[in-house]
Amino acid sequence: MSSSSSPDIRRWYVIAAPYLWLLIFFLIPFFVVFKLSLSDVATAIPPYTPIFSWSTGIWEFFSQLDFENYTFIFGDPLYINAYFSSVKIAAVATFLTLLVAYPMAYGMARAPKAWQPTLMMLVILPFWTSFLIRIYAWIAILKPEGFATLFLTKLGIISEPLQIMNTTTAVYIGIVYSYLPFMLLPLYASLEKINPSLLEAAQDLGSRPWRSFWQVTFPLSLPGVFAGCLLVFIPAVGEFVIPDLLGGSDTLMIGKTLWTEFFNNRDWPLASAVAVLLLFVLIVPIVIFQRQQQLEREAGR
């Protein structure tokens, strides 16, 4: 009967929609990339083989796929180092972002209620400018004859030009700056939720302000710390633009390696293998992030 079946079907659409979305925009592209990673490089357009065609048949097609690119990656310390280096740079940058964002988020959460939307606006405002332009602006600031050198020389703090540009330090600065809101917003959300009377209770029971911070405020902000760290760490591992524009030759990051393979060496299959492995590197933190979000949803009920 149409009257009873049509709402049923509509419900199925609603349930299926996100899965369909995942299928079209995530799973299918992933399999395309995965297939590419099993292919071989070729001087052709597109620059790889095999390409499936009905004339050669499906078995012929599959027999040409192999894990050669993966063995190559695992055999070459360049790639392994790039993965480790990316994870390390991302981890350090995440920690630095946390150090910068925590006091800011704390200040925002403690500011008078009327100010908070304005402060939030100030945090989000830079996002209205293109990401690339903001990174280029950092080049202008950090280069030896840039604004930072000028400013610090005027203040008499340094006499030599700053040698930050094209170093890993510049990459850290770039990541901390670019990803700050991703850290700040979840931190602010968890700090703002803390009932002020909990701190009064802690002090009432004899805990000095600094101790009550570590005993009450910080543990209660941990969900925000976790969420913020993962939101920064996950994209930072695969970051390409920042190390490319601000980092030097000594900054080894997997995103840069991938780009080089893809565009400079036109080795799409190898680049795809690098990308697939990057995904595996990130699966652990992503799963942690998902579980943590789940736990928090459950606790919030």
Partner: protein, 396 residues
Amino acid sequence: MTVATASQSTPTLTPRAGPRTAAPQSGFAPWNDPKKPPIVRFEGITKRFDDFVAVKNITLDIYEREFFALLGPSGCGKSTLLRMLGGFEKPTEGKIIVAGQDITDMPPYDRPVNMMFQSYALFPHMTVEGNIGFGLRQEGMPKDKIAERVDEAMGMLELRQFAKRKPNQLSGGQQQRVALARAIAKKPRIVLLDEPLGALDKKLRQQAQFELMRIQETTGTTFIIVTHDQEEAMTVASRIAVMDKGDLVQVATPGDIYENPKTRYISGFIGDVNLFEGKVSAVADGCVEIESTEGSKLKTRSAEPVSVGQQVWLALRPEKIRISHDQPSSTVNAIPGKVEDIGYLGSISHYHVRTAGGQRITALRANAAHAVERSISWEDSVWLDWPVDAGVVLTR
């Protein structure tokens, strides 16, 4: 015909006579002893928030082992007064002295008081044990000693089986007991309670009131409780301070507040009361004669200094009024009227009587004691009378 209603008011507001649980010694009245030093002294305390005066020049002494209640309507400043003692608000003017020491500028973590917060403010990331032991851990007490004290507090409040639970796994009543256990775990000299039972339903609240009294008695601590529930204040307190718009209106024992309210506001705030408005027509032999606007002559013994012609009110509790069919022999304080409404409450009945002058008066009669008399019913013409020492003359 009017129908009897049992819901008009409950008769439970009369204060308990005799020795109270909160003040076990029958003669417990340190406030009457001029030599006894108070444990808490508010000295001319004023608190302003910008232009708004929340607490107005309050001077108040509270004594050791008292169960002291701050009572008043919402927004009258009772929480503010308590929070100043806890150290969470700074008085704009005045001094707070605890056990002889000026603590006005002392931060909360150094004060010898512990507070039980209205919302309980339990630490959500700690277990029941962790919450109760929090204050003890701040003192650097050895672990086994902490465990002992936590266990003692949990035993006192029947919380042992919940030791490992987090606050969100507890019912409201259990959370309330954890909050209380946490406030007493450090054995402070003074425990502050801001509407500690406000979130509980009526039945649980009564149970919790007796629990509070038991804890207060067994620990021998001074309790200062904020409440806007007069019944609660009457039940638990050794003395009550009634506040109104930042002022202290009266500080007295529950019995005194009930029998000798200082103002019309207080007389109506605690229990039921009949108020006769009138002018003083004569003052003689410690008695005041009042010509009431309703048309009768009322005579009352009063120590209140009043002058002839002054506007006053006579406050009269319903249970002090005798109601009968027969005209009393005395003509003083005898008013005829007609029964309009009867509230039958089992052991007692409320009679709502309209006087000739149009005033509605409530009288109360115990049903058993008068079983032999002719029962009073609606529309009956009756006489109300009371002795000269039954009422209180109020000038405000």
